[in-house]
């Protein structure tokens, strides 16, 4: 019987767009296999000790809320996250959540806001809203579907890998077909839906990585994902993309 502890950062500020559903999904998928999972909220002003947790989750939220927490993240959380990022800790961050890890954020009025510099990418506010279904293929050839809704342009630094490549939709900037960021076991992406709802294979991948960090080689039993797969097929059929995996 396994147990995982998840840290939910800024649950009061970054809690829009249904992304907290990702945590519900992870929890249920553990429980259905007979394991347990506990979620620990860490909010504005509270210290963070990442060694206590197996997975760190940062949701997305409104822009002005993100601006409120930037200095707290930079001063109180970034240093400890930097350490565990290089130790393969599993970190999942959605939209504004993963922006916190970047270098700088430029607002619509050209104001430059310093971020935590944990990963090498910049974000710029754009007048175009990127909103719609998005289909991506990640580095493990998993086909993921979701919904993107942002008006930011993300430029990756030369050495930073994207989370996935877009087959349909805008992704980071609409020009280089990249979507999100990836470094070791840190994943940042724009996908709402929430991300793990249509993509149970990726949810299990996150759980496997976290469990392996904690327990060594483990084996997760298979669950009946026919509903989730049907939901994903629904989106893929709309844009005539075949799921070859």
């Amino acid at each position: 019987m396994y147990h995982l502890d998840i840290c939910h950062l800024y649950p009061d500020q970054l809690h829009s767009y249904g992304d907290d559903g990702n945590l519900t999904i992870l929890k249920k998928r553990m429980e259905w296999r007979g394991h347990t999972l506990t979620i620990h909220p860490i909010s504005l002003g509270e210290p963070l000790d990442p060694s206590l947790y197996d997975l760190i989750f940062i949701g997305s939220g409104e822009n002005h809320k993100m601006l409120q927490i930037i200095s707290d993240f930079n001063q109180k959380k970034a240093a400890s996250i930097h350490e565990v990022m290089h130790q393969d800790k599993v970190i999942l961050a959605i939209c504004n959540g993963f922006y916190l890890l970047g270098n700088s954020y430029q607002t619509a009025r050209m104001e430059n806001i310093e971020l935590s510099h944990l990963l090498d990418f910049t974000i710029r506010n754009d007048h175009k809203r990127s909103s719609g279904d998005i289909i991506i293929r990640d580095h493990d050839r998993l086909l993921l579907t979701g919904f993107e809704n942002h008006h930011s342009v993300v430029q990756l630094g030369p050495d930073l890998l994207p989370f996935a490549h877009t087959l349909h939709g805008i992704g980071n900037n609409g020009t280089d077909q990249t979507e999100g960021v990836r470094y070791r076991n840190t994943f940042g992406t724009h996908l709402h839906g929430p991300l793990l709802a249509d993509n149970p294979a990726f949810a299990d991948k996150l759980l496997t990585l976290a469990l392996q960090n904690k327990y060594g080689q483990i084996h997760l039993s298979l669950l009946d994902d026919s509903l989730e797969n049907e939901a994903r097929q629904c989106v893929l059929k709309r844009y005539q993309i075949n799921d070859c995996t």
Partner: protein
């Protein structure tokens, strides 16, 4: 041109004559209703009461609440001098859009109602703060307007200290008050008291008005709609009509509309956002038997293209339903809704997935069952048009 899409005249008006609203609003009293939920129901009830009392008014139809729809409604009723036969215009206004035209309103009497503010369609206005900003911007353009605010909604109540307008607020108090739930931001001036026997009394600053009503245990959200209308009537000086706000049973399509086809009865419930879904689920009978559920979720522009909002809804109340209850899923996002309920703890064995609406109805026809149908806007229209082939219904727009 399809009915329900009648905003083209308004679009042309606004395009060719950008200051049209200065002329259109000069000679009529405006009652504007905005907010996340309850706009349409509040407008309909107010319009119904005014009409039955012989006061002529105009109103915009469901879905025509952007500036183009408002323009269309006004221009179809006014003459070339900008004058109207009617006394009031009861207009449903989109929260973000009315600020764009509010500075043109030359009407001397404006009453603005804000029913509630919560997260609505994510892809349209992702930001509640931005919505509040727009509303405040609109209010700034109307310094003479009277605001009717829902004191029990924290976000709405927080508007009061930020404006210099006259504010008339309303709220509900019961015998057993749970102080944690009520916001202290604003003390309502029109209070609806719910006594434990079910009697309703409206306390205005001047007088207490008893409001007998026929429905036992009315859903709370509809009480708020009636209360909003009562506050407006009090503000307009027609307090004698307030009791009819609570005793009128009037036809509100898609909002708990009950339709019978042969032996099966359907309750149609429109859902648009987490707050609305929560309110709808709270109105389910306490011990449901012989019921089935249908979830018809679409993702067109009118429904909200991003269906992530379903994950902000709490569906735990569905766990208490009877084991014989079946859950049907239809609409463009049928499987996404099924996934949501699977993770809410419901057993997928009881799910029936049928994306095609007419086929779904052939499977639904079971004698002596009551079907609760939760649908988003466009799927509600599809369902009603299908039901219309089975039994005559009042049209969605004509009321």
């Amino acid at each position: 041109m399809k009915k329900g899409a009648t905003t083209y005249p308004g679009r042309i008006m606004v395009k060719l004559c950008p200051d049209a609203f200065t002329y259109l609003t000069r000679h009529i009293s405006l009652i504007l209703v905005t907010g996340t939920n309850g706009k349409t129901s509040t407008c309909r009830l107010l319009e119904h009461i005014l009409r039955t009392q012989g006061v002529r008014c105009i109103s915009n139809r469901s879905g025509a609440n952007l500036r183009f729809g408002v323009a269309t409604t006004l221009l179809t009723h006014c003459n070339i001098f900008g004058r109207y036969k009617q006394q009031y215009a009861v207009l449903e206004c989109d929260e973000g859009d009315f600020a764009k035209i509010a500075d043109q309103f030359t009407c001397p009497n404006v009453t603005l109602v804000v029913t509630n503010l919560s997260h609505d369609q994510l892809d349209r206005y992702g930001d509640l703060q931005q919505v509040k900003n727009y509303i405040l911007c609109g209010i700034e353009c109307l310094p003479q307007a009277v605001l009717c605010l829902n004191a029990d909604c924290p976000e709405t109540a927080s508007l009061a200290p930020l404006v210099s307008n006259k504010v008339v607020s309303y709220g509900i108090r019961t015998d057993v008050d749970n102080d944690d739930l009520l916001s202290d931001l604003l003390q309502p001036s029109c209070i609806l008291s719910l006594e434990s026997q079910g009697a309703l009394t409206l306390q205005t600053p001047d007088v207490a008005i008893p409001c007998p009503h026929k429905i036992t245990n009315p859903p709370v959200y509809s009480l708020y709609n009636s209360l909003a209308v009562a506050t407006v009537l009090h503000q307009l000086g027609h307090s004698q009509w307030i009791p009819s706000c609570f005793s009128t049973e009037f036809y509100n399509p898609g909002r708990f509309e009950v339709i019978r086809v042969d032996d099966t009865s359907y309750t149609l419930i429109l859902v648009k956002n987490p707050a609305g879904f929560r309110q709808a689920l709270q109105c389910l009978p306490a011990d449901p038997t012989d019921i089935d559920f249908v979830f018809a979720i679409n993702d067109r522009i009118s429904d909200g293209q991003d269906v992530s909002w379903l994950w902000d809804c709490d569906f735990s109340v569905l766990n208490h339903v009877d084991e014989h209850t079946t859950l049907f899923f239809t609409g463009r996002r049928y499987s996404h809704m099924a996934v949501r309920l699977k993770y809410a703890g419901l057993d997928p064995e009881r799910f029936v997935l049928e994306p095609d609406i007419p086929t779904l109805f052939t499977r639904l026809q079971r004698p002596n069952r009551h079907i609760y149908l939760f649908a988003t806007y466009s799927s509600m229209l599809e369902i009603r048009s299908h039901l219309e082939t089975l039994t005559p219904l009042k049209k969605f727009w004509d009321q």
